[in-house]
Every structure is written in C-alpha cells, then in structure tokens.
Symmetry: C2
C-alpha cells in the first residue's frame, strides 16, 4: 500500500505544496519563497542540488523527504543531510516516516555514506521521540550559526 | 602578505594535516579516519563532494576552509555549509579567519547563494565571539540529530 519512489521533474508542484505544508507545521507559514521554477532548476538539472523521494499511500501523495549530500572530514566520506521530512496529517501513524528513514538508511549502506544528519525544532517532542525510536541521538555540544543575505552582503563589500 | 586560493589535488596532504590539527583543537584527536586517498577521490574528481580554500601567509600554509553546498527549500536556492574553518595558532590575530569569511561571502554573492551555515562547539567562546563580530547569529530552536553507522545498518535491515 505504501510506495516510496524518487521524485521526478513532474513532481515539482507537489514538492512545493509539501514544503509549504511543512513550513505551516513549523509555524513559519510565510517563510517559503521558493518557486516551482527554482525546484525544477535545482533538483532536476544536470547537477542536482538536492534529491527528493515521494511516499505514496495507495497512489495518494502522503509525504516526502528532501536531502543532499554533506561531507565529513573526520570520516573522509559523504553523508546524507536530510533537509525536509514530512508526512501529511491524514497519513500519520502508518509507519510512513519510519519507512522513509529505512529507504534513506538503505541508500546510505548502498553508497557507503557515513551518517544521516538532520535538525529538529526543540519544541517538536513527537518528532524527537520518533527520531530516538530510530536510534538517532541529539548532538549536544554543537550550536548552529548562520550568516544570511544582509550579513553576507556587508561582509562581501 | 595573505593569499587565499582554491585548493588543488597536490594539497591533499596539507588538507589532511589541517583537518587533524583542527580535530586536536576540538579535543577529538582520534576522530580523524580520513586518508589522503579519501580526500583526493572526494574533493578533486569529476563531481567534487567538497571544496576547499587554503590561506597562505607569505607563502606559508596558515589555515583553510572546507565547504560544500547545502539547499534551502524555503529560499529555493543553494547555500554554503562550512564544514571546517581553521587558522594555525602561529598565524592567529592577523585577520585570516575574517578574510576567509569575506572570500566565502563574495562566493555567495557571485553564485547567488542564500546563506552560509556552520556549527561551533558551545565551549568555544573565542570562536563564538568571532562569529558574532561577523554578524552571524546562533540558531536557537533547532537541535541537530544524527544517525551513524550502527544505527544506519540496523535500520536498513
């Protein structure tokens, strides 16, 4: 009943809808500036900037994962950075999130990737519990820093 | 006196030395399993998994930055993930770290990249102060999760 398949260029409208639904869930409904053209260019060209898998339940789009490759200089090999993972509310409690992680773990084994890394909102306890049930551990000592548009332009001048 | 240049394949021995020196500083001297062959294969092949710049002070290797491209589905464009940044102790207090960030910011402007993201150890106050002086802000609500070798294999079975 559940199918997990790599996304195709014809899926960009669906992917953007899922990205927006996830942003709503993350309490950032206005954060999504991406367009279908952006996702088509960056995900389905000669050198894809990201990869995406779609989960379908009896043919209905139920969720997705979007990832790219990171790199560990300690391990000397790439890994998976999971940027987005989302299962639509109507399709939850059916093991779809776990099945997507199994799909990613098999990809990691096949391609000899060292790790799967992602981030979770600290108030999202159901997600944290779910990730712990998969065997994932939170990084304790590392804090994420970022420099965005205005800071980048200031520094580049 | 300071030169910042993209690394070449002839630099892999130097890069590995700098990765090891950084791991020592991060109190994880035994964490580096990477070999020169790994870095050569992953950084200097047809589809590089990472990119690297070398900072030289009067021709002496003084530091480096190693990065790859991440992707923001909110922005619909790639960004820079800075995996490693390191300046050798003998070359500190000369603005080399800042100059490397300026180099990265100019790359971001040139390639229309939305953000530069990295992580810092929470006890590394000198680094946190330096990053704040560049205009960077720590992410507050996001916690990093990871699944490594044993967890990946268990899930993939």
């Amino acid at each position: 009943m559940l199918t997990i398949r790599p996304a195709e260029s014809a899926d960009v409208s669906l992917i953007l809808s899922l990205v927006r639904e996830l942003a709503d869930y993350e309490r950032e409904p206005h954060a999504v500036c991406a367009t279908e053209a952006d996702l088509l260019r960056d995900g389905f060209g000669a050198q894809p900037r990201f990869h995406c898998v779609i989960a379908e339940w009896e043919g209905q789009p139920a969720g997705f994962a979007l990832y790219f490759y990171n790199y560990s200089t300690w391990e000397g090999r790439p890994g998976i950075y999971l940027e987005d993972l989302y299962v639509r509310p109507a399709f939850r409690k059916r093991g779809i999130g776990r099945s997507i992680f199994v799909w990613l773990a098999r990809l990691a084994v096949k391609e000899d990737l060292g790790r799967i890394v992602w981030q979770v909102l600290d108030w999202n306890q159901p997600a944290i519990d779910f990730y712990r049930s998969l065997g994932a551990a939170p990084g304790s000592e590392w804090r994420t820093m970022r420099l965005t548009g205005p800071g980048i332009r200031k520094l580049s001048d």
